[in-house]
């Protein structure tokens, strides 16, 4: 269908919504990040002093944002890398029909359907100095120590986030597996392929798309995760788990430095745009059926 005959006007409501819900707030956030907006000026925020890039320099030089970015990125990367094999393995394990498969599949989804607030609260209780986790470790003769503050708190965050987020990888891997034509399995079996060869040459290529998407989504979820660290550790946050979303929150709602906080939010947007752009390029999600032409225009 030639472009000019398409009923593009039908997209108008969506476009208006996009402008209202995404473009306008984004523009406002960008604008605020250039203002010295605080509790003294926010009543008439339009008139707050314009400070150019001062908020960005302060964020980078003096606010702990760099430390937070390093922390957020490494935490998100570790969690994503660890959840990937767990998710894929769980999907493979529940691929074939067996008695009780439905139950196992539902149980696998439990961490994913629990609200982050509940996950955080429950783990906060488990990880108390005299909590269940340290009780179990003590039986093994290990002194668990402090999980909600100090160096181990980073690993506590990693472990809890792994627990809460692997089902996403599992779900998308499972979706990928469903799309593998059973004929391929039979053909591979006829050719005498072992389980590893079958996995390596038949199944994995089919999983690349959905699992790639899952990895990106998981990474973005992890890096943007506010609720879990906030509920687990509270504010002020121990230095070892002062991730970017929590720091941004503290600057806004505890220190009332809205400008500085907006600058941090913009920085984190840039941060998550990098893997996203890489991914969109790799899978060409932005290209329609009818060609590269569209993609290059977008």
């Amino acid at each position: 269908m030639p472009g000019r005959h398409r009923p593009l006007w039908l997209l108008a409501p969506g476009a208006v919504l996009t402008v209202l819900v995404i473009v306008v707030p984004l523009a406002v956030a960008l604008h605020i990040s250039l203002l010295d907006l605080d509790q003294y000026s926010f009543r008439q925020w339009v008139r707050a002093p314009f400070v150019g890039l001062a908020n960005y320099t302060e964020a980078v030089r003096a606010s702990g944002a760099v430390h937070a970015i390093v922390l957020s990125t490494s935490y998100a990367a570790i969690v994503t890398v660890v959840t990937l094999p767990i998710g894929v393995a769980a999907a493979l394990a529940t691929q074939d029909r067996f008695r009780g498969r439905g139950l196992v599949r539902s149980v696998f989804l439990v961490p994913y359907v629990l609200p982050a607030f509940v996950v955080g609260t429950v783990w906060r209780i488990i990880l108390q100095p005299d909590g269940v986790a340290n009780g179990l470790l003590a039986r093994l003769g290990i002194d668990g120590g402090l999980w909600l503050n100090g160096r181990q708190s980073f690993w506590a965050l990693v472990v809890v986030q792994i627990w809460a987020s692997w089902p996403l990888l599992y779900l998308l891997a499972l979706a990928g597996l469903q799309s593998v034509d059973p004929v391929l399995h039979e053909a591979a079996a006829l050719d005498g392929a072992g389980w590893w060869d079958k996995l390596r040459y038949v199944i994995f290529p089919h999983l690349r798309g959905p699992v790639g998407l899952a990895v990106i989504i998981a990474f973005l979820h992890n890096i943007n995760n506010f609720t879990l660290p906030f509920v687990l550790f509270g504010v002020p946050s121990p230095r070892d788990v002062e991730v970017l979303p929590v720091l941004t929150y503290v600057e806004s709602f505890q220190n009332f430095r809205f400008g500085l906080s907006a600058a941090m939010a913009v920085l984190s947007l840039v941060l998550i745009a990098i893997p996203l752009a890489g991914y969109l390029r790799a899978v060409r999600l932005d290209v329609g059926q009818d060609g590269v032409d569209q993609g290059s225009r977008a």
Binding site: R43, P129, G234, P238, Q254, F256
Partner: protein
């Protein structure tokens, strides 16, 4: 495919329309009579009673003035802040807010709330009818007051009478050093001298503030932060030392919030529970120590001293409770003042105390309660409460103070308070507090 598109377009349009409608619906007045909107903290201990109280007040106000009152609640201080921010920005929202005392300076700094003129105070029944201590954080000075004292929740400490008697202690100590010595004697057989919530987001600064002020340092004076001083260092050393060196607190307390400390005391596992208000009574009366505990004012002699030094203040507690503020954007200014007068009237304050256990700010209502021995410590502490510094930057100072404790906790398991680490943290706290104060207007 086309049908799907139409459906999505339609649903988009409906969503859009409802969003726009949502923006415009909060006009704040209904039908003939006027409506006042009041934002107040949700009472998690007495939710049913609070709903009933809302209805009672609305009914009574309607009888007396013909206008209705609509109460909205917020669950956390952050909810409240968000609501204040959006209302202040848009110039519409609740007419009256009930806000915490320590948050009043920040709210004042926004310049969005009504400064009470002498005429306004007269309409409220006179400024003199309030307990003087409760007016301590209504404004930066008498000419610029925004907050009308509504309730007061002074901090005290609970003590287990049986455990104290068993250790041969006849009354709670009046100095922090004395409290530590008593706590040491009380720490035996799996029981600890004190229950302290080291992981609470607010408790720690209240201790440090009280000890410093008793030693003569108000932490902020004339726009200068005074966090990196020996008095403050002594306060942290004492507070952290209870756990690290004196070992009079359960080591697990590094993970406790206030509620967990109350629970530990309620289970009889600690002899003292400092830094609680009257609201703890509900929990404790339903616990294993019901009938075996009492309240006393916290020590007012600073650490390392046997008597309060010259310049030190007799501060038993921060000035704690709620103030009522009226928004400048309100279209019902006089009506709002009438409602504030009703809410702070002696009989309402008595009802409020009887329902929620929060103490009155009206002097005559407070005097009437003084006779109750169970409340003696609270009433005493209420009169000896001292307001935290009136600065729009106080929230940041508070955060800096708590941060020192949070970042010190991992080192405490080594069995000492690391002096060099404390110095670094105090220097950081000082500089961030000073930076916040420098921005204050």
């Amino acid at each position: 495919m086309t049908a799907k598109r139409v459906v999505s377009a339609l649903s988009g349009a409906i969503l859009l329309a409802s969003t726009l409608a949502g923006c415009g619906s909060d006009s704040g007045s209904t039908g003939g009579g006027e409506t006042l909107n009041v934002l107040i903290g949700a009472n998690t201990i007495y939710p049913e009673e609070q709903r009933k109280w809302f209805d009672d007040i609305s009914a009574r106000f309607e009888r007396e003035s013909g206008a209705t009152v609509r109460f909205e609640t917020f669950a956390t201080p952050n909810d409240e802040l968000t609501k204040i921010q959006t209302s202040v920005l848009s110039g519409q929202g609740p007419d009256i807010y009930a806000i915490g005392t320590t948050f009043t300076p920040t709210v004042y700094a926004t310049g969005a709330f009504l400064e009470l003129t002498p005429d306004d105070w007269t309409k409220l029944g006179g400024r003199d009818r309030f307990l003087p201590a409760t007016l301590g954080i209504s404004g930066p000075d008498r000419e610029h007051e925004v907050g009308v004292p509504f309730t007061t929740r002074p901090f005290v400490m609970a003590y287990n009478r049986e455990l104290l008697a068993a250790a041969g202690i006849d009354k709670p100590a009046e100095s922090w050093d004395g409290l530590r010595e008593q706590a040491k004697r009380l720490t035996t057989g799996g029981r600890y001298g004190m229950a302290v919530a080291y992981a609470d987001s607010f408790d720690p600064w209240k201790f440090v503030w009280a000890m410093s002020l008793q030693a003569g340092n108000p932490l902020v004076s004339d726009g200068k932060a005074r966090l990196d001083e020996p008095t403050v260092r002594d306060a942290y050393r004492t507070y952290l030392g209870w756990l690290a060196t004196d070992r009079v607190v359960d080591p697990a307390a590094v993970g406790w919030k206030n509620a967990q400390a109350i629970a530990a005391f309620g289970a009889g596992r600690a002899a003292y529970l400092p830094m609680v208000s009257a609201t703890s009574k509900v929990t404790l009366d339903a616990s294993a120590v019901a009938g075996k505990y009492g309240y006393a004012v916290m020590p007012t002699v600073p650490p390392g001293a046997t008597a309060r030094p010259a310049g030190g203040q007799d501060a038993t507690s921060i000035l704690s409770g709620d103030n009522l503020v009226v928004a400048k954007y309100t279209k019902h200014r006089d009506l709002a003042l009438v409602l504030v007068k009703l809410l702070t009237s002696p009989d309402q304050q008595r009802t409020y105390y009887e329902t929620f256990g929060e103490l009155p700010t009206d002097a005559s209502a407070a005097t009437a309660l003084q006779a109750d021995p169970a409340l003696a410590a609270m009433v005493d502490s209420s009169a000896r409460s001292v307001a935290t510094p009136f600065s729009g930057a106080w929230s940041q100072v508070q955060l800096a103070l708590v941060n020192v404790v949070v970042q010190s906790v991992p080192g405490l398991s080594a069995g000492r308070v690391d002096e060099s680490r404390l110095s670094t943290l105090l220097a950081q706290a000082q500089s961030s507090a000073q930076a916040a104060l420098d921005k204050a207007k």
